[in-house]
Amino acid sequence: MNYQQKQYEYRKKLLAMYYNANAGHIGCSLSCIDILIALFELKSGDERVILSKGHAAAALYTMLNETGEISDETLSTFYKNGTKLSAHPSANFFTNIPFALGSLGHGLPIGCGIAYANKLTNNKENIFILMSDGETNEGTTWEAAHFAVAKKLDNLIVVIDKNKLQGFGYTKDVLGDTAEIGKWKSIGFDAIEEDGHDVEKLIKSINHLKSNKNRLPKLIIANTIKGKGVDYMENKLEWHYLPMDIEMYNRALISIENNYNA
């Protein structure tokens, strides 16, 4: 499958999950699914991607279904009573979901600990942290960011899914742009911006950053669109929350067909 086919197939799969579950957070998953495709392409078997924006769990479950770690049968239990696939990732079930996440601001500190441990053991693995831009409001994000710089964690690769919308408004209207690249550069991150929906470019940029063994932690600000690929969801706050009815679901399928499979 080429990247565009993956972008189509994975979107189709996660839309079906959300429709069957009658669940929200669709926009959040659509904004980061392309980043996840890139990160899973890049990471080695023992490296981990930590989805700090746990509300996009369905996107992660989709990835792990594609890699074979989550079976179709398990995937079909998403949101149901007795499931291992809660709306935010639960701990202790899957190798590639090492931590329960969903309360924002937890992933980066944990990532710093993993990166520090790898340094202590001379383990060359990287740790990838996928955060939301709203999450950069959290104080722990900045505690951890300064820790990463001070401890020279150049094996820490942070991706911010910058879709410019957060829980109850545009990020610029809430606390301002806390995911602004200058802020991260000024404290010492090796930071770049990239189109968060161009898988090829993301891979190239992250690979480039990875090769900089300059003792600086890495950051990719991935500029994204909330709801990307489903035209009527794009840049709409309500798609942080709303589930789809059958008519919306059919329109969503047509939209991704036109955008990725025409």
């Binding site: 931590f99 500190p109 600990g113 993993i114 441990a117 383990n123 740790i127 505690e143 951890a144 820790f147």
Partner: protein, 301 residues
């Protein structure tokens, strides 16, 4: 206790290269030896307690046992969610160390007191709270913590030494009555006030409990309670979520009925004024004089 702690942790870090020590920018004149021993396994995480617990969880995921040190209130309340989610839910070997539990930091004021720490932490999954009463208990608690390799909280205070060699366990029989008329159970160094209050009385049993939740009930303690049927629990912790409630619940489950139960506990700031640890103990009725008075009344009732 802090010097005992420092020495023991130094030994642990020397013996095990997969142990890390993180401090939240505290430990002047106490942790320097640990720092020298552990080198890059000693991390000053700065004044950023929430992050340091998350970092500890990340390290523990990569097979490092991790001590996280601050003064008790900062180590517990500031990062309660990180302790709950990052550490306890994943059952990781992260050991939170809070110095100066209770009113330990005395005149430093309410920001520096931790009188609800056990209540907050003991409700979380997988964690055990360890509260040494005598300074030698610190080694015992640390041995238990590193043997169990699961989430732990160690509350340090100012404990005196045992006067005779003592075989320390999770529940300790400190003062032995000929025939017990009252059983006193103490949590932490406030036990020393109880010892002073008991004085020459030969009808009072005194026990310390070092872990909450109680891992295993001790037969001697149960026997004492069953004989005396008058129990005093003394703790530098608020009533809610403290050792007293824990004991009552255990006794109720075992269908043990008491004639009298008295909880002597931290009452916050009754006069709204501040002072030393001893001042706050007195304000809460945890001083030796008040304990003595309570014992006399209970013996008569």
């Amino acid at each position: 206790m802090r010097s005992k702690f420092s020495k023991k942790v130094q030994d642990i870090l020397s013996a095990d290269s997969k142990t890390v020590f993180i401090t939240g920018d505290l430990g002047y004149n106490a942790l320097e030896a640990i720092q020298a021993t552990a080198k890059e396994r000693f991390i000053n995480a700065g004044v950023a307690e929430q992050n340091m617990v998350g970092v500890a969880a990340g390290l523990a995921y990569k097979d490092f046992e991790t001590f996280v040190y601050s003064i008790a209130p900062f180590a517990v309340y500031r990062c309660l969610e990180q302790i709950k989610i990052d550490v306890c839910i994943h059952n990781l070997p992260v050991y939170i160390v809070g110095n100066g539990g209770g009113y330990g930091y005395g005149i430093m004021g309410a920001t520096h007191h931790a009188i609800e720490d056990i209540g907050c932490l003991s409700t979380l999954p997988n964690i055990t709270c360890w509260v040494p009463a005598f300074s030698e208990d610190v080694d015992y608690c640390l041995d238990q913590i590193i043997t169990q390799k699961k989430p732990a909280y160690l509350r340090l205070g100012l404990g005196k030494s045992y006067q005779v060699k003592f075989d320390i366990a999770a529940i300790n029989h400190i003062v032995k009555a000929d025939i017990p008329e009252i059983t006193i159970i103490a949590l932490g160094p406030v036990v020393h006030n109880a010892i002073e209050a008991i004085g020459e009385n030969n009808n009072i049993d005194l026990f310390t409990i070092l872990s909450v939740p109680i891992i295993e009930m001790n037969e001697k303690l149960l026997k004492s309670i069953s004989q005396a049927r008058k129990v005093i629990v003394i703790e530098e912790h608020v009533e809610r979520g403290g050792l007293g409630e824990h004991i009552l619940s255990l006794l109720a489950k075992r269908n043990i009925h008491l004639l009298k139960f008295l909880s002597l506990h931290a009452k916050g700031y009754p006069s709204k004024l501040y002072g030393s640890q001893a001042f706050h103990q007195k304000e809460s009725g945890l001083d030796a004089e008040n304990i003595k008075k309570e014992i006399s009344q209970l013996l008569l009732s």
